[in-house]
């Protein structure tokens, strides 16, 4: 399965943060401008289709209004894809 640069960056951020659940805006802030606004959710949706991440809707308290956020978590396939991607990058740099 192909892994794009943005997808690899998202997986990297997720793994650096201890494989915990993160939401889109948090990823955006952690990427330091590496990911653009607007493209993040499309990319995450694409990754979810590929099986690299899973998502669930955040449970919010009754007194809080607004649209509920989605939390994303890296899967085993995502971790393996990231390891493979990093290996390819290292080999390319060494070669």
């Amino acid at each position: 399965m192909l892994l794009s640069k943005t997808e690899a960056l998202i997986l990297q951020i997720m793994s650096e943060n201890g494989f915990r659940e993160v939401y889109g805006l948090e990823l955006l802030k952690l990427s330091n401008g590496g990911i653009k606004r607007g493209t993040i959710y499309t990319t995450l949706q694409r990754m979810e289709d590929k099986g690299f991440v899973v998502s669930r809707q955040e449970e919010k308290p009754d007194d809080v209004s607004g649209i509920p956020r989605r939390l994303y978590e890296i899967t085993g396939t995502g971790q393996r894809a990231l390891q493979a991607y990093e290996l390819i990058v290292i080999n390319t740099v060494v070669a």
């Binding site: 889109g24 606004r37 607007g38 649209i67 956020r69």
Partner: protein
Amino acid sequence: MKDEFYYIQKKYRKIKHRRLTRTLYFLFKISNSNQVSLKEKIKAIKSIKRGLFNVGKASLSCIRICFFLVGLFLLLLFLETTTAGSSAYIITTIRLYTLIIIMSILLGILVGWIVIGILAVIEYTLKIKFSPNKTLTKPPASFLLKIALLLPEKYRKDIEQNISDMRLEYCEALSEKKICRARFIVAFYYIGLCWSVVMWISDKAKEVVGLLPKKN
């Protein structure tokens, strides 16, 4: 100040564009006063808007009448000085004046819209800046959120999450009293949403070609 306002209102009742005169005078009076409520300031701006619209309509009528009179005068002059049989020239003149009149109407409407739009922005900014309870009357992208309900779930989720983030950042900027930043955030997110649409189209194209797995 309130009594004075009503006195001015009464005094200028018989003037044709009384609303504009009254509100301009009122605004001049309140420009250095903090005692006048926001409601009254907004009322004054709304009145100016209506007044300007009246002035615009009146000036448009004047322009149209002028064109009509000049055209009529030229037509009469032409009929007096030329011989019969040159109907082509008359038709050309009539066409030209019709075009000028239509153009003047369109130009008037355009200028009116721009002026009214600018005043609406000022009114909205005043509402946000001086509102005592700091409650947003309408959060950004409300209309887009309604439209998103008509889309398939995949796209709707994307749009909803984007709007959620936009509102969060927007409110953060407003709480720091950075109104310009708040507006830029909305603009950036709209550009981002346009980019999302491009990505959806590219995904669909990849699905068709076979680069991405097809989804049910």
